[in-house]
Symmetry: C2
Subunit: 390 residues, 2 copies
């Protein structure tokens, strides 16, 4: 019944550019609305004809982001190329640059989001606080580091992890045996922290940057489940230092587009950087409804080197709750209850099939009282995923 999307972009009149996104996940999907609003043409190199973003853009050729030919053919029609994820291999990125594609972020910047060891080295060089860490190749090296900072340790695959995948809490070197067989492992001390924060900003090739307020993120089993913007009760000094660190990272690493810096708030005064992402990020979904300029519009403006939009909040507080796949595959019938109960809840679903724990959508609610907004957001998210029935 259904038909494939077009594989070549249709240029709009008026001199508007084509923005290509490699990867057809929900981040690419959520760029579609802002792109249409700004008159831009979006093209998506999708994993499948029914990928999340491919459902909602006209031009969505199916192609493998690790295949040089597919990626080059896609990029040839685009004025600028950006990413839904960090998984495009370095040789493919190099071929794109060689072919004259304008990539944002550049491969030189993106490597620090792709390779966690490279990221730790670079952040150390520019004086950004990080957990103590070591890249180890053997059980002996792991033993040494554990003796130094204490077990358990956080073990991370240097490449390819996301949403808690590629991360392990190791109680002893024995837990790392399988991983070490595949190459070096990044070990980090387990930081005791008060809560988790994120700094979200955008930076353009011209060097303009704009930061949203620092947010609090709540993780459940390694997956972000809730974001409160701005972070309630955040010390102004900590907020300023964290924001400054984000801007310094963006500038020093040459980031273009949206940058998310995930932090541990150690004790309400100090922070260490946990992770980086160089693309729109779960910690910024609140901005779609809660800020004058949402992260998806801002990412498009940044990669096109347009002046950035105001990141000002529209209401005092916005809470985002992720909708994770639950037990039932049918979702639409939940709308009646959720929308009737709370006419102000903003529902965002991604067109993805349900698998337990998979991110399939989120809701935003804006207002003044963070606790009340969180209750409303969680209720809507829980009802849609089916873990509550009233």
């Amino acid at each position: 019944m259904d038909q494939p999307a077009a594989t070549r972009p249709l240029r709009s009149p008026g001199g508007f550019p084509v923005v290509g996104i490699i990867g057809g996940g929900q981040l690419a999907r959520m760029c579609a609305g802002p792109a249409a609003e700004l008159g831009l043409t979006l093209a998506v190199l999708a994993e499948a004809h029914d990928a999340s973003a491919a459902q909602v853009v006209r031009c969505a050729p199916v192609g493998d982001h690790t295949d040089v030919e597919s990626v080059l053919e896609f990029a040839a029609d685009c004025d600028v190329v950006t990413f839904d994820h960090e998984h495009v291999p370095p040789d493919v990125l190099a071929a794109l640059v060689e072919a004259g594609a304008r990539l944002h972020p550049s491969p030189e910047a993106l490597v620090f989001a792709q390779d966690k060891v490279a990221m730790r080295v670079r952040l150390g060089e520019i004086g950004i606080p990080c957990p103590r860490w070591r890249a180890v190749k053997s059980a002996e090296e792991a033993e040494d580091f554990g003796a130094e900072v204490g077990w358990p340790l956080i073990a991370k695959a240097p490449r390819g992890g996301y949403d808690g995948k590629g991360v392990l809490v190791a109680d002893s070197p024995a837990d790392l045996a399988g991983w070490l067989a595949n190459g070096p492992v990044l070990l980090e001390e387990q930081v005791e922290f008060h809560r988790e924060l994120a700094v979200l900003l955008a930076r353009s090739p011209s060097g303009q940057a704009a930061t949203w307020p620092v947010v609090e993120t709540v993780q459940t089993e390694g997956i972000c489940t809730e974001v409160i913007a701005p972070a309630p009760g955040l010390d102004a000094g900590l907020a300023a230092r964290a924001t400054e660190a984000g801007l310094r990272i963006a500038g020093e690493l040459g980031v273009t587009g949206v940058l998310a810096v995930e932090l541990f708030d150690v004790d309400g005064e100090r922070f260490v950087v946990n992770e980086l992402a160089m693309r729109p990020h779960n910690s910024g979904h609140w901005s779609m409804d809660g800020a004058v300029t949402g992260q998806f519009e801002q990412h498009l403006r940044a990669v096109l080197d347009l002046p950035l939009g105001s990141p000002r909040t529209r209401e005092p507080v916005t809470v985002m709750a992720n909708i994770l796949g639950g037990e039932h595959e049918e979702l639409y019938s939940a709308y009646r209850h959720v929308m009737a109960r709370d006419p102000a809840v903003k529902v965002h679903l991604y067109g993805k099939g349900v698998r337990p724990g998979r991110k399939i959508g989120h809701v935003n609610v804006s207002g003044t009282d963070a606790a009340e907004l969180a209750e409303r957001a969680q209720h809507a998210a829980d009802y849609i995923r089916g873990v509550i029935t009233e």
Copy 2:
């Protein structure tokens, strides 16, 4: 280089419906973002492969809205069918109903937006204040009506008009000769008014309705050029009576989806109804950025009989300025200046080729001071259309 959009919709997993829109103009285009956010599939029956909406949706078959076969084929894939414009002929609507299509608004309601004489008759029956009017078939009848209410008169083609087209200021029966040769003409007294207002609301098949604040609209040569939401300094009693009239019209006429009621504010206390539109409307574009639920999301919710979203304003005032086609066809290069000058301006362009006076986009700016916001919105709109260069 470019390729046609798909002609059959791709159903998303999760039980989400397909909403079909007949007509591929900017109103259909602006439904695309909200549809994607809600996980809905949008299909558009477009006038051309590069129509405004066809640029930004996956499924946009090209077809003539006056051709029964094309429209039936399109509707067969849709769970509900709605409209970008009022121009689908009654026989095509009847064939759709006969084939089992769910149409919102229904043909029975839509006739009052299609036929201005039918609208005047019906509004009179339900006690809504209107200008004095008469449907005339001859110069003699026009002469009689003119003698009664005074020349000049406003002459309107009963069907097919929009944006000032199909409307004429007649100084004498001689001005109507050409029109009367084509059939009856609606004549209305020329109302002296203080300003123009619009009531915008949505109503669902279940009968739920939600109204946005009454707005002030500014028309230039019959085309809406500016909207201030809410209307500044509006008498609370007038606002309440106008809103009540809008709700009464929606209920009595059985409107489903968004209804716009254009009014003349006669003297700050009394109003008369000028026009009706049963679809998202220019007077509601401000709501995309200025309200918790914008008119395009609300229209989708209404035609699907979902509970309606909150129409609450996000900021005290939002001003919309239309961008009308100017002298130059290249638009994108204006972004650099407009976005740098005012990072909070929200730009919406429709992917339409430039023709002088054609609606090609709009801007929204939100804040507290209507006059200041209007200056900012007009500056951005004027710069993009090219009538100012700094």
